[in-house]
Symmetry: C2
């Protein structure tokens, strides 16, 4: 086993804040980014944990994210909150728009947050879960750079387009899921290529649209959506809702920040919030309790709830801290001293 | 090829209205049901076409649907419309609530229709498409009787839980999809059993939770969701949103109407409507046009849009009428004369 370093959540938070501040992120952005990556690391979602700070700093150095943009929050209609991230990170824009979204949902029963023009790298579940913790039901989605072919196609057009959902539970952490609509993350294919291993059937097609198990050919071709034409339809829906519906771009119109300064990483995110009390009034507690029968039905047959493993990791991390690879720790530690 | 009968859309409509009226559905319900099954037949969605009238009459005779319930429409909050179908068919409740939903979406930017206590047998796409034809973006979902196991489980808990989405297009019929979150319809497994054919791997598990290709064992066990744990998570979301969130039941709490009068087929449906103009104002036309780049990207690589085949069938049916099996025609013709 490779060497690791164990840190308390407070130590991890300090490390993240110092790395971000040292490279120019203002206090507000450093705080919002830190809350997201520390939450992911705490829940053992390693791919959205503090390792992402490396990408944040790289994107900043390439001009792909504003380190001090103040998000502009406005109300377009009684049920519509807008947040213009102004090429800053999506996370601060969400945090600043969140109170207005909660207010709009409580007043109207349902509300949308249209978050525009944002650099986006984070997991969506901390956002929907934070809304469910206030008693709302929440759904979030965002497009991403185009690596995925539509069902029946052969060329990258769609992003890996994640969708996340959270539901408040009376006596437990919210029921939450968050998944990409691609079969796997692109990084999985890259890991297979580096290891010289074939990828499973159904992950990707080569540039001619033929199914391939060769990771090189897959990276030249396109990844596939999960669940065939159904996952492809969902992915298209996500592009439309978190793109043109909110006046923002499609996944294939974005590019990661490049050293030539020509990348256009910014795009939109859509968050829907529903207030159960508006629908159910005094019967809300009874119906939320009723929903538990569904979770009991899943657990009772030995199946797992989507958020279960993450919530167990959360309890462990709070007690024992988090463990990250020593190499990652040294990279981050060096970044805070540069 | 088996014998068929070709009817004009008007003839099909008259046949449907006469069958339903003859058995006691009032004019309003007969009209709403007819509009749905004729639209499905016109679009060559045979499984939701006029063949469904047989099930409607059977359900009526078993006391599973009120033939003359007047839906009660109310507003729970500025963005929430409620429709109590009072054990009548969902279709009339939707039609009666539709103007209030459109008004609420236009006023607030986003609105929800909570449709309760309904007998539901129809495709969801005619409902979301009818909203997109007025310029709204719409999403609909409903639970159904429990035939599907959650990912990692082995027993029926979830319905086949369909989800449908529709998006207005400037110069074309709306982009629309509508699919069950089960891998296939339960009827597909029954067809394999009757034909003595094995089912493909991944459709179902036996009562011990093992993957099975035996249709008998599959029907004793449980169907699976599409897309593994991701489809399972979506299916759970649909149960929560179109069940407890709107004060209605979960799929496993419903049963088809039975001859003993003990079935409880009624359940909920949720429809979300978003007004692009509230979000985009005068820039709406430009952004809807921009969305066409995504559809062009799908078609340009030889892939198909979800609604494409259905819309082509619609054009054919309008010109040449619809063709149904002669046996079905005779069954329906007999039912209008009983």
């Amino acid at each position: 086993m490779s060497d690791t370093v164990t840190l308390t959540l407070e130590e991890l938070e300090t490390l993240s804040l110092e790395v971000l501040s040292r490279h120019g992120f203002d206090e507000a952005h450093a705080g919002a980014i830190t809350r997201s990556v520390v939450a992911a690391q705490r829940d053992e979602c390693h791919s959205h944990g503090v390792y992402r700070l490396l990408g944040c700093i790289e994107t900043l150095q390439k001009g792909g994210v504003s380190p001090d943009a103040a998000p502009e929050i406005s109300r377009a209609a009684s049920g519509i909150v807008r947040a213009d991230a102004r090429q800053g990170c999506s996370l601060l824009a969400f945090e600043r728009a969140r109170p207005a979204l909660i207010d709009a949902a409580s007043t109207n029963g349902v509300a949308l947050l249209a978050l525009n023009n944002a650099f986006h790298f984070s997991a969506l579940w901390p956002e929907v879960e934070s809304l469910a913790e206030t008693g709302l039901v929440a759904l979030a989605m965002t497009p991403s750079h185009a690596f995925v072919a539509p069902a029946g196609g052969h060329a990258p057009l769609l992003g890996t387009n994640p969708i996340a959902f959270s539901w408040p539970r009376p006596d437990d952490a919210p029921f939450t899921f968050d998944f990409a609509t691609s079969v796997v993350a692109r990084g999985e294919i890259e890991l297979h290529r580096r290891a010289g291993k074939a990828i499973p059937e159904g992950w990707a097609v080569d540039p001619d649209g033929h199914s391939t198990r060769d990771p090189e050919r897959a990276l030249e071709g396109a990844m596939l959506t999960f669940g065939g034409y159904k996952g492809s339809a969902l992915s298209i829906m996500i592009e439309l809702l978190a793109g043109p519906l909110i006046g923002d771009v499609l996944g294939h119109e974005t590019q990661p920040a490049g050293t030539d300064g020509k990348g256009r990483p910014w795009h939109g995110e859509l968050i829907l919030a529903i207030d159960p009390r508006s629908l159910l009034g005094d019967a809300m507690e009874r119906h939320l309790q009723h929903a538990e029968a569904l979770f009991d039905g899943v657990l009772g047959q030995g199946a797992r709830l989507p958020s279960q493993r993450r919530h167990a990791a959360r309890r462990r991390s709070r007690e024992r801290g988090v463990t990250i690879p020593e190499t990652l720790y040294h990279e981050l530690d060096a970044l805070r001293q540069v």
